[in-house]
Subunit: 212 residues, 2 copies
DNA sequence: TCCGAATGTGGACATCGTACACAAGGGTGG
DNA sequence: CCACCCTTGTGTACGATGTCCACATTCGGA
């Protein structure tokens, strides 16, 4: 009787299971966040038996970690795009400042446009120090953290940020922007109109510039 | 054969199951965060069959929500204690400023001392607007958010904060402090020595005061 | 060509959330 | 004082999940 119309593969080997699982996990995370990235669902999506995943990942946590890295890379890409979309400025000081702000607005835009991925990206399965891993980098080869660091360095170079305030500045900036992102996607500011959210973003970045 | 030595109750009714479940959930959350608050584990802990929970909570999410509220109340208590421990100051301006900072340091202290509860408190099961519910209040009857709001009001009253900057200020402050808390408990700043963490906290609060 | 290392399959188990039917007991109207 | 019923706890059951173990299939090199 009418065999299942599933897009089952004909070769015994899958060929690229690892990446297929990450991709599937990414889709699951996109809607539903980290807790939605379910091992069995991912393997199902890849047309493979659940256990096959264990040939490529130690356990669900390992898969989730890989998905998280991929999500971070997408965040980095959004941030890079935000910078790239900046109108060309001849004043290098203004340019550095604009690039710095773009890091923040790009981060916030990603959080709002892809809340599931955002949550997955910074879900921190007990080890987020890997925010520096190259698997988390965007097209330019930089992770979100590195993008922020570079923008801050530019601020120092152009004299916008006193050198003695540079150390640890990424943590101040990241704290504020990340906190707002959380407020926006599932805190009391959830469901804020995009324009208002943008306003809030500007306010927070203003605060950072003033207070850093 | 030696019947189980479990502290099983002799009355058919439990008497206070709802609270017992919340308490058990709180213990589970204390170590392990929100995902550790497992319905069956809580009922087991209360010496009751799993389904009994459904007489008091619609589902696991409802239980988790109650636990979250309780955790928030504990956060509020920590923050109140931080304020109460302030040395008495005769200068009302300095006092207002100190109370404001204590809100932030109390919040950060709670995050570091009780990371599991902290995560559970602000886990946001899709509806965190209830940060105002009275079940989330501390001994003084105020939730963490309300404590922050009151501290900001004091800043305005004492002239430390221009009135036109007051609206929305809680979100700026909350963003920065909450962001740092996340960085500290499971971000790149995890495992920072308590003294250094305190330094970081001071820096962030400095930034807020300057930039708010 | 043959064999071992990779990779995928099948079956099984413990645990979890939750639904449904049933039992026990406490409060209340008669 | 007692019978009834509503509340609360129990038993049994189901589907889903993560993961373990033994087995099958295939690929790549000696």
């Amino acid at each position: 009787m009418a065999e299942g119309g599933k897009p089952k593969r004909d070769t015994y080997r899958h060929g690229d299971l690892r990446n297929a699982l990450i991709k599937a996990g990414l889709e699951l995370a996109r809607e539903g966040g980290p807790e939605a990235v379910v091992l069995r669902a991912a393997t199902r999506h890849a047309g493979v038996v659940p256990n096959a995943a264990y040939r490529h990942f130690a356990d669900r946590a390992a898969l989730l970690h890989a998905v998280s890295q991929a999500a971070m890379a997408e965040a980095a890409r959004t941030m890079e795009a935000e910078q790239a979309a900046l109108p060309p400025a001849d004043d290098p000081v203004a340019a550095a400042r604009a690039r710095f702000r773009a890091v923040g607005t790009g981060y916030l835009r990603f959080a709002q446009e892809q809340p599931g991925l955002f949550r997955a990206a910074f879900h921190v399965p007990g080890d987020m120090a890997h925010a520096a891993a190259e698997t988390a980098a965007g097209a330019g080869g930089r992770t979100p953290f590195e993008l922020l660091g570079a923008a801050l360095d530019d601020l120092v170079e152009t004299g916008l940020l006193p050198e003695d305030r540079r150390p640890g500045a990424e943590f101040l900036a990241w704290s504020a922007v990340h906190g707002l992102a959380v407020l926006l996607i599932d805190g009391p500011l959830r469901g804020l109109h995009p324009t208002q959210a943008q306003d809030a973003g500007r306010h927070v970045i203003d605060m950072i510039e003033r207070g850093i």
